[in-house]
């Protein structure tokens, strides 16, 4: 038997409370990171898959001119095992008997849609069907408004250019419907093979070809790499993130999850650092003794390092073993919530951040104090010596900060997020230094009071170093947990508030001035609410600073240069927009215009540049006075260009736009509306809103689940810290009992002491959390900051209660065991 190995052996370690705490912390760390990773990965995949339906594919290749997509590209994609689909979009006139109508045609092949489904009906009054195919050759599907406008029934013929197609269905919803206010013409869907026969597409006509691609991510990625060098400027490779509406939502979702993940990491390493330090402290006597027996520093290092590696391996394994069922559980909950079948798979390579966390936790946080054990003076066998660890502690802190920074960087790759969190930690350290000094000063001067209060205050002062370090850890824990609670409650709420259940989900466009009153009456009769009317003036952007726009624009192929834009007039600032440059119109301003940021960037224009528009026969010019960022996922009426009242476009012929909410069960009202106002376009965006709300619900659920785990980790940190001082407190308690203190007094004093620590840590934690939230909200999620008073006020009390309970719990052995036994045990 090797006795030396048994001195610091794994089974031996497991009997040490500090090792148990450290192992638990490490398991929690690995499990939390791995769970978040596995679950976030799963969520990403399901979110992406469901969001990809908005492209009707995983990727789209869009031609920005009327050049078709080369067949060789499709062939290459098919060779690589990707599914492909061809789609052509163009505008044309269709007719039935003597009635003509301008329509937006979408010609699709048999593969369409590669992702998502088409909702259609055999007739206007039939039930809705969900299909995975569009119309076949020779067939055409129309939107309900067009059916009525042209007075068509299934089986009738529709003239499209030079050919005639049979109406076989009513298209209710296409997966890639998009949200474009410029799509004013009603939809016609036909088969791509019939396009040539229509003879509609002539040189110079405005046609858009879209290639659809679907397959696994790796193949798509490889194909993109192959394709990229061949793509001329007029082709655009699009994934769902580049879609205006869902892209932003998905980015936000990812931001929330990563935030949760990084907070978990921070909490975990705090727990590990605390436990490791306590373990090292408890080992000093043993090391001193071994040194008297002649053990050298390097052998001591080897002895402990081998243990550490054991712990790391076991904690990582156990953590991963816990994480997989946990992630599966979360995934199945989400699946149930979303009423979707569960496809859960774990890609073990995705779990490397958890393994990295274990390694970092081990070597950057657990190892330094343990490594310093070899410097324990052998003289310690005679008496405990004060050790001056300030320099070492500073080194540890520096290393910890650098490592945390690197780790967060790896996880989040978002400098703003990392800086916000680290900034908050720094703010916490500074406020702790100030508050700590103040506390010591205050405790010394506090009128001691009586009984339990006196005992509590004396204990706080006597253990001021422990008090301060406990307070720091608690405050840090509370800060991290509170940040997530606040971010979750405030950012998610803000996001949800943007899209409440009754958010406008239908738009009405092309309301002629003379129809406004009748539309108003329709709304009143049917008890519907609508948003204000926005005047819409259709105009083309033709000049920049007096030069032809198509020649001087930075991106000469911008679609917005090729079509008419919706210009509007408004004096009130759109609430979800943000001015990024210049000034919004002052009251009474009649000159200038406000332009959307991405359009300004694409055109290469700045404040003061003059834009010229052609509206009908008129030409108007105005200088840019402000540039706005627009939140396209807000689903509110948003405009590229806004003029002030009485400005350049005032008095030009206009129509109006409005939006309203219509519940699913009231959708039949639309039929009445369309019949009554055949010239007004109805844009249904309820399915987009529904999908975004679904994403919000999914993310909310995920963040909540992560929150539960983080709160568990936070409680583990607190237990670790409280139990770190357990033996000393038990000894004191036993002594006080031996000296005749009453149990009640002891209990009260401990409860008061911990409640005070908890209360102060709660105040510091919640205030610094607000700083972090402010930074995150301001910078990352573009929300507005406001104080979270209920949390700010209640959290210090909650943390006081939790710590008082923990304090009471650790006192239990002191109260139940005879002081004699306890003192002997603690010898």
């Amino acid at each position: 038997m090797n006795v030396t190995a048994k001195v610091v052996s794994f089974t031996q370690d497991l009997r040490e409370r500090n090792v148990k705490v450290m192992l638990m912390a490490m398991i929690i760390a690995v499990a939390t990171v791995a769970t978040i990773n596995a679950f976030a990965d799963h969520l990403q995949r399901t979110l992406m898959t469901s969001a990809n339906a908005f492209l009707a594919a995983d990727r789209q290749l869009n031609s920005r001119t009327n050049a078709p997509i080369p067949e060789a590209w499709y062939a290459e994609a098919e060779k690589r095992g990707l599914k492909v689909g061809r789609m052509v979009e163009f505008g044309t006139m269709v007719s039935n008997e003597s009635q003509f109508q301008l329509v937006a045609v979408k010609a699709v092949d048999n593969a369409y849609p590669l992702r998502g489904e088409i909702e259609w009906q055999a007739d206007l009054d039939s039930t809705r069907q969900i299909g995975s195919k569009g119309p076949g050759p020779g067939e055409v599907w129309l939107n309900p408004r067009l059916m009525r406008l042209l007075n068509l029934r299934p089986g009738d013929a529709l003239e499209v250019g030079s050919t005639s197609l049979e109406v076989t269905g009513v298209i209710m919803r296409e997966p890639d419907g998009g949200f474009r206010l410029s799509n004013l013409a009603p939809r016609v869907m036909m088969h791509v093979d019939d396009v040539a026969a229509t003879e509609v597409i002539q040189p110079g006509s405005r046609v858009r070809h879209r290639g659809l691609f679907a397959g696994d991510e790796a193949t798509l990625h490889d194909f993109e790499i192959w394709l990229e060098p061949q793509l001329a400027d007029n082709y655009r490779w699009v994934d769902v993130r580049q879609g205006e509406t869902l892209g932003e939502s998905l980015d936000k979702a990812e931001g929330f999850l990563l935030l949760g993940g990084s907070l978990a990491v921070l909490l975990a390493v705090v727990a590990i650092a605390v436990a490791s330090r306590q373990y090292a402290l408890s080992q000093r006597d043993r090391v001193a003794l071994l040194k008297t027996m002649g053990l050298t520093g390097s052998r001591i290092r080897r002895l402990y390092l081998s243990r550490l590696i054991w712990w790391g391996a076991i904690a990582t394994l156990l953590g991963l073993m816990l994480a997989i069922p946990a992630a599966w559980f979360l995934a199945s909950m989400t699946a149930r919530l979303m009423e979707q079948p569960l496809h859960f798979e774990v890609d073990f390579w995705q779990l490397w951040p958890a393994v990295l966390t274990a390694l970092v936790a081990l070597f950057a946080f657990a190892y330094p104090p343990i490594d310093r054990l070899r410097n324990t003076p052998a003289m310690r066998v005679f008496r405990s010596l004060p050790t001056n660890n300030k320099a070492a502690l500073f080194k540890d802190l520096l290393l910890a900060s650098v490592v945390i920074f690197a780790l967060l960087w790896i996880y989040v790759s978002d400098i703003v997020l990392v800086m916000a969190l680290l900034g908050a930690v720094m703010a916490l350290v500074i406020s702790l230094a100030i508050a700590g000094g103040g506390l010591i000063w205050g405790l010394r001067r506090l009128p001691a009071g009586k009984g339990s209060w006196r005992l509590a205050v004396i204990a706080l002062y006597l253990h001021r170093n422990a008090t301060l370090s406990q307070m720091s850890v608690f405050a840090m824990t509370i800060m991290l947990a509170a940040t997530l609670v606040l971010v979750r409650s405030s950012l998610l709420a803000d996001w949800q508030a943007q899209l409440p259940e009754d958010a406008p989900n239908h738009f009405l466009l092309n309301i002629a001035p003379e129809s406004v009153d009748q539309v108003e009456a329709f709304f009143t009769d049917n008890e519907l609410n609508r948003s204000p009317l926005y005047p819409i003036i259709r105009g083309r952007l033709t000049e920049i600073n007096g030069q032809p726009a198509e020649e001087v624009a930075l991106n000469k192929d911008d679609d917005e240069l090729r079509r008419e834009l919706n210009l509007t007039i408004s004096d009130s600032y759109p609430e979800d927009n943000q001015i990024v440059d210049g000034q919004w119109f002052a009251t009474g301003d009649t000159s200038g215009l406000s332009i959307e940021q991405s359009l300004a960037e694409s055109l290469g224009v700045k404040i003061g540049d003059e834009l010229g528009f052609t509206v009908g026969a008129e030409k108007v010019t105005a200088a840019i006075t402000s540039i706005r960022s627009v939140q396209w996922d807000s689903m509110r009426p948003n405009f590229f260009i806004i003029f002030p009242p009485n400005g350049a476009i005032d008095g030009l012929p206009s129509t109006s736009l409005t939006s309203f909410y219509l519940a699913e069960q009231d959708k039949t009202l639309l039929n009445d509306f369309v019949r009554q106002f055949p010239t007004i376009s109805v844009l249904e965006i309820d399915h987009i809103i529904e999908r975004i709300q679904q994403i919000i619900r999914q993310v909310t659920q995920a963040v909540e689940a992560i929150l539960v785990m983080i709160l568990l980790a936070a409680i583990a940190v607190m237990v670790a810290v409280v139990s770190a001082t357990m033996s000393e407190r038990q000894r004191e308690g036993a002594l006080l009992r031996t000296l005749g203190s009453q149990q009640r007094l002891l209990v009260r004093a401990t409860i008061i002491e911990f409640a005070l620590i908890g209360f102060l840590a709660g105040i510091l934690g919640v205030l610094t959390a607000e700083i972090a939230v402010w930074a995150l909200q301001y910078r990352m999620f573009e929300g507005e900051f406001h104080w979270h008073w209920p949390v700010v006020i209640s959290l210090p009390f909650a943390s006081a209660c939790i710590l008082a309970l923990l304090g009471r719990w650790q006192l239990t052995p002191v109260l139940t065991v005879s002081p004699m036994l306890l003192l002997r045990k603690l010898e």
Partner: protein, 243 residues
């Protein structure tokens, strides 16, 4: 030159201290603990250092054993100038030649009695750890308690295990810090007897710190330390050993 002296085979001193002073840094101030101590202890001798609490006797013991190095002056052990050795070199020296007995026994609670005794034998890289440890535990009268952990032993029994452990590597010199300090009189006497007997049998040099006069008088040499200054007590006189 000093190397020649420390390796001198004619040198029959086990411990030789010259002009040793020791102080600790208290930030701005220095607290002087030992002043100009000179001391020779021959091989096989037993020496007691007596003094009040805080007189510096334990610090001196630590310095003699090479657990720390003095602020100034030299300490030699069996001809090796230990005050000039690195910590690891001193550790190696200790593993071969030095045994300790402590006031608070310092047994590892997780190890059984026999394992505690085996530990220094293994650390020194010697063979037959188990049989040696068994023999020693038999010798200190704990043949039937070998598998007990320290918690299952009384104070006197724990100190017997500690003594067995101290003699396990057949040390040339044994340092004892208040070996009976935590024991009642009768147990203390029994422990003293055991320590002295083993010391005699193994021809070990014994350096003991105590404030127990009776125990001190059983040693061949008897030193008194007062406020950091060492004197040797001979019959009725006290020789000042600190200059």
């Amino acid at each position: 030159m000093s190397t020649d002296r420390q390796r001198n085979p004619l040198n029959d001193f086990m411990i030789k201290v010259e002009n040793l002073s020791h102080s600790v840094d208290l930030g701005t101030d220095k607290l002087s603990i030992l002043q100009q101590v000179n001391l020779d202890i021959r091989k096989g001798e037993s020496a007691a250092i007596v003094g009040r609490s805080g007189s510096g006797k334990t610090t001196l013991l630590g310095l003699l054993a090479g657990l720390d190095i003095p602020s100034s002056g030299t300490v030699s052990m069996n001809g090796h100038l230990i005050s000039a050795l690195s910590e690891d070199e001193r550790a190696s020296l200790r593993s071969q030649r030095v045994g300790f007995v402590f006031q608070s026994f310092q047994l590892l609670p997780a190890l059984t009695a026999i394992e505690n005794v085996m530990l220094p034998i293994e650390l020194a890289g010697l063979s037959d750890a188990k049989s040696k440890a068994e023999a020693l535990l038999q010798r200190v009268g704990l043949g039937d308690r070998m598998q007990h952990t320290p918690r299952q032993l009384s104070g006197g029994e724990q100190q017997r295990v500690a003594i067995a452990r101290a003699f396990a590597v057949e040390p040339q010199v044994l340092f004892a810090d208040e070996p009976t300090g935590n024991l009642d009189t009768r147990t203390g006497e029994a422990i003293t007897e055991l320590l002295m007997t083993l010391n005699r049998e193994q021809g070990t040099t014994l350096v003991m710190v105590t404030h127990d006069q009776q125990l001190a008088e059983r040693c061949q040499r008897h030193f008194v330390i007062e406020a950091g200054v060492l004197h040797e007590k001979t019959d009725n006189t006290t020789e000042v050993l600190s200059a």
